[in-house]
Amino acid sequence: MRVNLTVNGERRRADDVWEGESLLYVLRERLGLPGSKNACEQGECGSCTVYLDDVPACACLVAAGQAEGREVRTVEGLADGDALDPVQQSFVDAGAVQCGFCTPGLVVAAHDLLRREPDPSDEEIREALAGNLCRCTGYEKILDAVHSAAGAR
């Protein structure tokens, strides 16, 4: 089948999509956007978090066909040219990135949190990011990064 969607502000088309493919597969393997990650592909880890019509979603749980005509914003669409989004910059500066496989999903989830709550408490950050697994950092520096991004916005 063919899927038409808007990705990071650009109209995109994917052809010969098998009906069982996920939005994540289409992004990664057909549209050249592997930034959204495939850590579990079962909606448990949040590494594939993208905005779908402005709402964060696990791209692995969205069938490709469900994205028809919709707007997707991935981690690749957060920076403004060379200028990183404050969330991205804070993750780098705070040491919240180790292996980085969770990072794209966490960056999108934290970006979404800060749109809703510009100055979140620790507890609010924890609840908001509870769907994003990280195996390297123990999360402390991720909390630091989100606080620091909140201050920078």
Binding site: V97, C99, G100, F101, E127, R135, I142
Partner: protein, 761 residues
């Protein structure tokens, strides 16, 4: 900070050793532009899939691939007969089939591989392969495997290694004796980036493999043997690694993808999904441990006797080395005059087990630290006081007879932990701070707080006489009017930040800001494994040594150009200077067209094998120490635990990058928390019951408490910059500290980790 350069002390270089510059790959990682092994793509590439045994132990009586081969889009279906070289591989013993031939020994063992033009096609074809099995009785208990009357799973029996350690009197008398039987469940590394890679045939019978691994050269050796090729024909490049923690020390898809690429003549990508990942890598050895501790009435250890059984599962992997660690570190960071330890690593039909962060020291620490608390109770001492009375220190003789010849600040770690502030009592007003969280399971009723302490010890670098080395090439030249250095090694960056540290070392030694770390590949000699907390020490040491050779050559070049003697010159912040006259010239001017290019193979001081009868020997290079204090709130009615704080003091010798050091302590402590209260691969008759992140739980941001962290820097004179490996120690003491805190809250004995609600209520 200061460093000594050519006999003189100069100011620290910006972004050098001891600072925390940004990681060179950080920006690409936050932009989603860093290429992990599962992100790779090649025109015309095929997708591989692996058919795995559904049985933990069975004889294969027939394999029919005809239906699979007939599926449109399928390019190859391969079984053991298609392996051109040795159909065996393994880290220490080549005992594992590339593709099963006669017998399968674990649920999940690869039997056949498929390449097709779409991953779904490959999966469907794989399911059409007909394999017939005669099921055999699985061996699933490690103690039975050693002592019982069970089937021999490999020639030579089911004991991979037995390591005895004997010191002092073997039948000592003590005033106070405590015993216990402890169990550690099978933990998974649960790295987030799945096993994956891309194999590209070169058209001349060889292959280029891009893969996430911990040790390119040991992968290459095993692939070469299986494919019947030469090392020149099998070239490996490190692709982006999404975490490792030991789970990428063994091969997963490397040989399979290479085989498929060579048979089809096309690039082949393989990516495991999360379920397959649980079958696709080794895990932490589950352990059963019998401990007896004897002490004087005032709590001074007289003896430790232990039997430790580590279940290695179907294939040996690194079981031998894990046994060595559990045995030699089996009494913990304590001075014990009389020791008798026996540690066995076994074959069973459980999932294969091998390396995971902490590597044998984690299991033993749950045993010996549980015992120390029991002994404290029996002697009427506090948990910290009994540890202080027995704490080892520099000069202590280990049960192996090895004298600890650098800092071992066990008592100081405890003192500093006790000095840290305790968290405030929990608020019952905010559900989010209570066990069960927003599940609304308690408003504070039945919630009891507990505090626990633990200390751990870990050997750093490879031990027991292993020829452990790393190779580094450092090249200095002027590029675009600036001095620039490139560093080449084969050391796997797995997320820990080695690439940052190597840049820092160059800046400190050569005063050059612009440092490029080349892609890691097998075109240079081995760097050894990214494991055993060894890469800062080993590849850091190698890069430093190569940089010093470059500096020596540069100074003699500069001496000629500046009409000075080499001895009077030194490098100072990108300039050449002399003692008498200060700055003489910019480095870039002195360089001119010259290029300095040095390659060094660097070794740590040698170690010795353990005596097979007594366990005597100077087996370890360096010891690392960390201690934790955990505070928990336990809902004693429901058995739910909330870890309220987890504080850590660790000696790192020298923090090359303080931010990365703290990140290792936080992340390592989280993995220890996981083992304490949630993480276990549950097996039943050899079959994994929970191969998913739905059922295998790792800590989320809700589970990890805030940490107070105190980093000591007591230099080890034998190590580069005095550093002490950082990655593993915090994983070791975290688990027993949390369990001790739960015991303090509940009064329960808690002889097994992970602690489950039904152990508490």
């Amino acid at each position: 900070m200061t460093s000594t350069v050519a006999g003189r002390t100069t100011a620290a270089t910006a972004n050098g050793v001891g600072s925390s510059p940004a990681r060179p790959d950080g920006t690409r990682k936050v932009r989603g532009e860093f290429a992990y092994s599962s992100d790779l793509w090649h025109e015309d590439m095929l997708w591989g899939a692996t058919l795995r045994s559904p049985h933990p132990h069975a004889r294969i009586t027939g394999v029919d691939v005809s239906a699979a081969v007939a599926v449109p889009g399928v390019h190859a279906v391969l079984t053991h007969g298609d392996v051109p070289g040795l159909n065996r591989y393994g880290l220490e013993h080549p005992d594992q089939p590339v593709l099963a031939d006669d017998v399968v020994r674990y649920r999940g063992e690869p039997v056949a591989v498929v390449a097709a033009d779409h991953p779904e096609t490959a999966q469907r074809a794989m399911k059409l392969i007909e394999v017939t099995y005669d099921e055999l009785e699985p061996v699933t208990d490690a103690e039975d495997a050693v002592h019982g009357d069970v089937a021999e799973l490999h020639p030579g029996g089911n004991v991979v290694r037995h390591a005895p350690i004997r010191r002092g009197e073997q039948t000592p008398q003590a005033d106070v004796v405590v015993t216990g039987r402890y169990e550690v469940g099978m933990q998974d590394q649960a790295f987030l980036g799945p096993e994956s890679g891309l194999a590209v045939p070169d058209g001349h019978g060889g292959v280029d493999l891009y893969v996430a691994t911990q040790w390119l050269h040991v992968d290459q050796q095993q692939i070469v043997a299986a494919l019947g090729l030469t090392p020149e024909q099998v070239r490996l490049t490190l692709a982006g690694v999404g975490g490792a923690f030991g789970g990428r020390e063994d091969l997963s898809m490397q040989i399979h993808a290479s085989l498929l690429a060579l048979y089809t003549g096309k690039p082949v990508k393989m990516v495991y999904n999360r379920e397959e990942s649980f079958y696709g890598h080794v895990h932490r050895h589950p352990a059963t441990m019998y401990y007896e501790h004897g002490a004087t009435r005032d709590g001074r250890l007289v003896h430790v006797t232990a039997r430790i059984y580590l279940d290695g599962g179907a294939y040996a992997s690194s079981t031998g080395a894990v046994v060595g660690n559990a045995a030699t570190l089996g009494v913990g960071p304590y001075d014990v005059p009389n020791v008798s330890i026996d540690c066995w690593g076994t074959y069973t039909n459980n999932p294969p087990c091998g390396a995971m962060r902490g590597f044998g020291a984690v299991q033993a620490a749950f045993g010996y630290e549980s015992q120390m608390d029991k002994l404290a109770d029996a002697c009427g001492l506090s948990p910290t006081e009994i540890r202080r009375r027995n704490a080892m220190s520099e000069g202590t003789v280990m049960p192996t007879g090895q004298t600890v010849d650098s800092a071992a600040p066990v008592a100081e770690l405890l003192d500093r932990l006790e000095g840290m502030p305790l968290p405030q009592p929990g608020s019952t007003a905010d559900l989010r701070t209570l066990p069960g969280g927003v599940s609304n399971t308690t408003h504070g009723e039945g919630v009891v707080r507990g505090v626990g302490y633990a200390v751990g010890i870990k050997n750093i670098c490879f031990s027991e006489g292993f020829d452990d080395y790393s190779t580094a090439r450092v090249r200095l030249a002027a590029v675009g009017g600036q001095p620039a250095v490139t560093v080449q090694t084969a050391a796997a960056e797995v997320g820990q930040g080695l690439v940052t540290i190597l840049q820092q070392i160059i800046r400190t030694e050569l005063g050059v800001e612009q440092v490029t770390i080349l892609p890691m590949d097998t075109s240079i000699g081995s760097a050894g494994s990214t494991s055993a907390s060894r890469q800062s020490y080993m590849t850091g040491g190698a890069v430093r040594a190569a940089a010093l050779k470059v500096r020596g050559a540069l100074l003699s070049h500069a001496a000629t150009r500046l009409s000075r003697t080499t001895a009077e010159l030194h490098l100072d912040g990108g300039k050449l200077a002399s003692v008498a006259d200060g700055v003489l010239a910019d480095l870039v001017d002195v360089l001119g067209e010259a290029e300095f290019d040095e390659t060094v193979e660097w070794r740590h001081r040698p170690t010795e094998a353990l005596d097979p009868e007594t366990g005597r020997g100077n087996a370890h290079v360096q010891y690392g120490f960390a201690a934790h204090r955990a505070v928990v709130d336990v809902d004693t009615e429901l058995g739910l635990v909330k870890v309220v704080s987890l504080d850590c003091v660790q000696d790192v010798g020298k923090a090359l990058n303080p931010q990365a050091v703290v990140g290792q302590i936080q992340g390592g402590s989280a993995q220890g928390l996981g083992l304490a209260v949630m993480e276990e691969i549950q097996t039943e008759g050899g079959v994994i019951r929970n191969p998913s992140f739905t059922d295998y739980l790792i800590p989320t941001v809700l589970d990890m408490p805030p940490m107070n962290i105190d980093v000591l820097e007591l230099a080890d004179p034998h190590a580069p910059y005095g550093l002490r490996g950082v990655g593993e120690p915090p994983t070791i003491s975290s688990t027993p500290a949390i369990v001790a805190a739960i015991r303090a809250a509940t009064g329960k004995e808690l002889l097994r980790v992970p602690v489950r609600p039904d152990h508490i209520v």
